[in-house]
């Protein structure tokens, strides 16, 4: 992202970019009107997308407001993000950093880097779209580590049923009020939450990834960051 990218809480109202996105701004403002203080942060990237971070306590309310007031009746997906940097790195070999020469912090999410902010390890992520205007919103909600629970969307969007089962089994987030919260992909006796960053990818632990040789610098090149000319055959 460029430095011109808005990340502040009031970025949607600032004239940071030359062409404001009137339609997406209106969507975000309408949601603010509905939810009031439950909208914690919002970001509109003009012509691209809009993000809104809401209070997890108002998660169901936000879904209903989007469906009934904003016309976002199409349920696209629901998932989560584990923002903890993986303790295993990118598992690309015995401590050999692929990004040699790059900043050592590469690969670790900085606190201010998240779109629409937030500070907890787990973040809910959902996307709703309007079938008439074709504009969508990405909703986020921070879930505190000690209480990974949120109200279920199954009453709001029927399609949320399977997505919540998947999120529950992959991240261990509990959806209160879900009628049938059981494993969807994994066998019933499976332990652990595979998409959490501290869940090891055993195959990679046993045998390091051989693909690391693919990114060695080419002969005669001082550093790998040189730009290849488009006309040059590769």
């Amino acid at each position: 992202m460029s430095s011109a990218d808005p990340t502040g809480p009031d970025a949607d109202t600032e004239a940071a970019l030359p062409e404001p996105d009137v339609d997406r701004d209106a969507l975000v403002l309408a949601l603010r009107d509905e939810l009031g203080a439950a909208v914690l942060e919002s970001v509109v990237r003009p012509g691209v997308d809009a993000w809104v971070r809401v209070d997890p306590a108002a998660w169901v309310q936000a879904g209903e407001a989007c469906r009934d007031r904003l016309g976002l009746r199409y349920f696209c997906f629901l998932s989560a993000i584990d923002w903890m940097p993986s303790p295993f790195g990118r598992s690309e070999g015995d401590g050999v950093a692929v990004s040699a020469g790059g900043p050592s912090s590469a690969g670790e999410p900085a606190a201010d880097q998240r779109v629409a902010g937030g500070g907890t390890r787990f973040q809910l992520l959902a996307r709703l779209v309007s079938p008439t205007t074709h504009l969508g919103l990405t909703l986020k909600a921070d879930l505190p580590d000690e209480d990974l629970r949120v109200d279920s969307w199954t009453e709001v969007f029927a399609g949320a049923d399977w997505h919540e089962r998947e999120t529950w089994e992959m991240f261990g987030i509990d959806f209160t009020g879900h009628p049938h919260l059981v494993h969807i992909y994994l066998p019933g006796e499976f332990e652990g939450y595979p998409l959490r960053k501290d869940f090891p990818l055993v195959a990679r632990m046993v045998k390091p990834w051989p693909g690391i040789v693919d990114v060695e610098a080419m002969p005669g090149e001082a550093s790998g960051d040189e730009t290849v000319d488009a006309a040059e055959p590769t």
């Binding site: 992202m1 460029s2 012509g47 691209v48 997308d49 993000w51 009746r73 349920f75 696209c76 997906f77 998932s79 993000i81 584990d82 990118r90 598992s91 690309e92 692929v98 990004s99 790059g102 590469a106 690969g107 670790e108 999410p109 900085a110 880097q113 998240r114 779109v115 992520l125 996307r127 079938p131 074709h134 969508g136 990405t138 969007f157 029927a158 399609g159 049923d161 399977w162 992959m170 494993h183 969807i184 992909y185 994994l186 066998p187 998409l195 869940f199 990818l201 990679r204 990834w209 693909g211 990114v215 080419m218 090149e221 790998g224 960051d225 040189e226 730009t227 290849v228 000319d229 488009a230």
Partner: protein
């Protein structure tokens, strides 16, 4: 069929379905296991249905037989390596899987592929659609007991696969899209060959139309069966032809801005108001035919120029989050990509069309007859690789 007639039929089908559920038959319930190996499921899907006589009381799809954990695997791959994985999500239209991911990476890097690359991408995208949906059209007959169409489908699909192979070197898994452009340009003779194949594909569509869609038995087996109203379809997140068959006029190729060049073509989005099995099949048939015209226009307008933008040899994607989705053969396929400035993604959420498309099964199978279960499953058209990821 006129609109009033269609409304009447839909109404009668609705009343009949209600009556079937409400009537209390004094029979003992029975549990029937369909799958995991069943020809109607492209892959392995098991459906446990609880029956009362011939009627389904409850249906519970069981998947995960093909879960390969791609979302986890992307976290230990670099951006160019990810395309190899996501090729295998919907294996009948592989190239189309690569495009939204590459577009998301390009959006984060703020680079754009040159025009010729975008046109060739669009050509390959539509060829993937032909390769994918032509198999559906052939398979459709088999589910209902008509054996012939599937041979026609495999015969003509071969030509499309040959085209994809001549460009990319791979029939099923092209792995051809690159951040900033494409791996190679089109081979010599591709344009003439493609024109000939597009004519063949239209003949195939005509054959299928006369063989199946005008057939009385086919109509009787599909009309008014498995009706999904638009509001239900939207709340389950159905996309692609399944949504358009419920009367929702929404195609991401037309309605969402994309660097690919669909908006420069003259084409039509097909919809059908009925929302039944017939509508879903019919919309797909029209889309196949429309795709052949789109490819011909793309060949006419193909610009010259480079096929690759200037991209560093080691791709590092700036930190950020991007969501890009495209109208794939099966429906909306999208990637929510989070990068932290490294060579590989921090997290990728893969939103595949089939997962949402079959989540409607427990709803739509309630109250139907056993014989219609397979018709409904195959008309929703999903690839298990696209469900399980």
């Amino acid at each position: 069929m006129s609109t009033t007639e269609r409304e009447q039929r839909a109404y009668i089908a609705g009343v009949a379905a209600d009556a079937r559920i409400n009537v209390e038959l004094e029979t003992e319930g029975m549990t029937l296991n369909i799958g995991p190996q069943h020809p109607a499921t492209h892959g392995t899907l098991r459906i446990v249905v609880r029956l009362d006589g011939e009627q389904v009381l409850e249906a519970e799809p069981v998947m995960g037989y093909m879960h390969r954990g791609y979302e986890k695997l992307t976290e230990v791959r670099s951006f160019p390596q990810v395309t190899t994985l996501i090729n295998r999500i919907d294996w009948l239209g592989s190239f189309a899987n690569e495009v939204p991911f590459i577009l998301a990476a390009e959006q984060l890097m703020e680079i754009e592929a040159p025009p010729r690359a975008q046109w060739i991408r669009t050509i390959l995208f539509e060829l993937s659609r032909l390769a994918n949906i032509s198999l559906f059209l052939g398979d459709l007959g088999v589910q209902l007991g008509a054996i012939t169409p599937v041979f026609f489908a495999f015969r003509d699909r071969e030509h499309v696969l040959n085209l994809i192979e001549s460009v990319t070197g791979g029939r099923f898994h092209p792995n051809f899209d690159r951040i900033g452009g494409l791996k190679d340009d089109l081979p010599r003779g591709f344009i003439d060959e493609t024109r000939a194949v597009m004519v063949k594909m239209r003949q195939f569509c005509d054959e299928i139309e006369t063989l199946l869609f005008g057939n009385e038995i086919f109509e009787a087996r599909t009309r008014g069966i498995g009706v999904i109203p638009p509001e239900v379809a939207l709340s389950f997140g159905l996309s692609g032809a399944n949504l358009r068959a419920s009367g929702v006029d929404w195609d991401l190729r037309r309605d969402s801005p994309s660097p690919l060049v669909w908006n420069e073509l003259d084409w039509k989005v097909w919809t059908h108001p009925d929302g039944d099995c017939f509508a879903r099949c019919w919309v797909r048939l029209q889309e196949t035919r429309e795709a052949t015209y789109m490819v011909e226009q793309l060949l006419d307008g193909l610009p010259s120029g480079p096929i690759m933008a200037k991209v560093p040899r080691i791709v590092k994607v700036p930190a950020g989050e991007a969501w890009v989705s495209t109208e794939n053969p099966l429906g909306e396929m999208g990637y929510y990509v989070i990068s932290t400035g490294d060579t590989g993604p921090f997290r990728v959420k893969i939103r595949s069309a089939s997962f949402n498309n079959i989540s409607v099964l427990p709803w739509v199978l309630k109250g139907v007859y056993v014989a219609d279960v397979i018709t409904i499953i195959s008309s929703l058209y999903f690839i298990l690789g696209d469900v399980d990821r």
